[in-house]
């Protein structure tokens, strides 16, 4: 079966596996993390046709024919995406395990709502958890990113 990931087509083995497993184990795209495995933490966030979903809760077979974006697909020509840069500038992480998920959720948020209020940001990102508690800096990074995107 063929998956479209980050703009290219990848042939992967058929079978009942989560998208998260296929991305990490078959395609080596380890930017997508596994945290809870039950849809609650957001470490495995990927965009499917532009919408954030949990890679741990969807089967690879369900996304055949759709466009999948992982954190690896954000940089262009060696240039970090403005959201990635904003997370670095605001030091919006400690261990950074949650960061790819937060960055992709932010990308989807800004796409839907280019000028979100602080409350809207908090609400939208409430399903992404950061065990290191970098929330204040993450909020700053999103505010900084929306000025640049």
């Amino acid at each position: 079966m063929i998956l479209n990931v980050n703009g290219s087509r990848h042939e992967v083995q058929e079978g009942t596996r989560t998208l998260l497993e296929v991305l990490r184990d078959d395609l080596g795209l380890v930017g997508t993390k596994e945290g809870c495995g039950v849809g609650m933490c957001g470490a495995c966030t990927v965009l499917v046709d532009g919408r954030p979903i949990s890679g741990c809760l969807i089967l690879a077979e369900q996304v055949v024919g759709k466009e999948i974006l992982t954190v690896e697909g954000l940089e262009k020509n060696g240039q970090l995406h403005p959201i990635q840069q904003a997370f670095i500038d605001e030091r919006a992480f400690q261990c950074a395990y949650c960061t790819p998920g937060f960055i992709l959720s932010t990308a989807a948020l800004l796409n839907e709502n280019p000028n979100p209020s602080e409350d809207e940001i908090r609400e939208y990102l409430s399903g992404n958890l950061c065990r290191c508690g970098s929330y204040q800096n993450i909020l700053k990074a999103v505010l900084r990113a929306h000025q640049r995107v």
Partner: protein, 286 residues
């Protein structure tokens, strides 16, 4: 996970015939949120998954003379954001906006949410208070089931093993009717409900209550309405005393369950609080 056959019918009657053919070996997969979780946790081991992902034309929201129609494959996030739904009943849009997190709502479908019949869910209580019904397709015939008769118990619905939920219909509300949905979460803000209260009330020009419908869910096996309590409001002004008495009736008569989100005792207390708040909202909104 063992390899499981993944079938992708393109319409509901084909899907239902496949269900009929494979019977207990097959599971429908719509958004796949619950199904993937159950597969991962080895709670189910079907040999066939019948995906609704290639069925077209059932991802819709439409307002007709007889009410609001939502196709079974419509994503919760699209219902939450729909201007048609917001105009029809803001409390309904709100109900969908508080389900889990944005990723769950992007993937989960209304048909999957109802068919899963998980007691710890939000849409069932609001939809029950709105007198919603579901349309169902079997291999030979279609039928309609009112939501009050759809949920039979924990994870159990009135769907036959070869039937598929195709559409949810919510009858029109009178222009003087008001609705409210109150979700109480006891663990985290984006968690499943500990208590869910959907309330709909209609009033005459003098502010007397013509009709009241309250469904309490998440604290009990299936969303529960109480005729005795609803009747207390009919023809009456919803004073603070009456609101408290109706809330007390729900708290007294329902038999809540105990789980990680709260004990039966605690839920009785919270049912009283949240029925009261929902009633105050529909009353004050008038």
């Amino acid at each position: 996970m063992n390899p499981i056959k993944f079938l992708e019918p393109t319409d509901f009657s084909e899907a239902s015939s496949l269900l009929d053919q494979y019977t207990d070996d097959a599971k429908i997969i719509a958004g796949g949120v619950s199904i993937t979780l159950m597969l991962q946790q080895k709670l189910i081991s079907p040999s066939v998954l019948i995906s609704l992902g290639r069925v077209s034309n059932y991802d819709f929201i439409r307002h007709d003379q007889d009410g609001l129609h939502i196709g079974a494959l419509t994503k919760l996030r699209d219902i939450e954001r729909s201007d048609i739904v917001k105009k029809f009943c803001p409390a309904l849009a709100h109900t969908f906006s508080v389900v889990g997190n944005v990723r769950v709502r992007n993937q989960a479908t209304i048909g999957g949410n109802l068919s899963a019949a998980d007691y710890a869910a939000d849409p069932p209580s609001m939809l029950a208070a709105l007198n919603a019904r579901v349309q169902v397709q079997g291999p030979e015939k279609k039928r309609e089931i009112s939501l009050g008769k759809f949920f039979l118990g924990f994870y159990t619905t009135a769907l036959e093993s070869n039937e598929i939920l195709t559409e949810v219909v919510i009858p029109n509300l009178s222009s003087s009717a008001r609705a409210a949905y109150h979700k109480y979460t006891s663990i985290s803000a984006e968690g499943r409900p500990c208590v869910a209260v959907g309330a709909v009330a209609d009033f005459d020009a003098d502010g007397k209550c013509l009709d009241l419908r309250i469904a309490v869910g998440a604290a009990v096996e299936t969303p529960q309405r109480l005729n005795s309590a609803e009747a207390m409001a009919r023809g009456q002004i919803l004073t603070d005393e009456l609101v408290a008495a109706i809330a007390e009736e729900y708290s007294l008569r329902l038999d809540p369950l105990t789980d990680v989100r709260g004990s039966a005792w605690y839920r009785k207390e919270m049912i009283r609080v949240f029925v009261k708040r929902a009633l105050q909202e529909v009353r004050n909104d008038r």
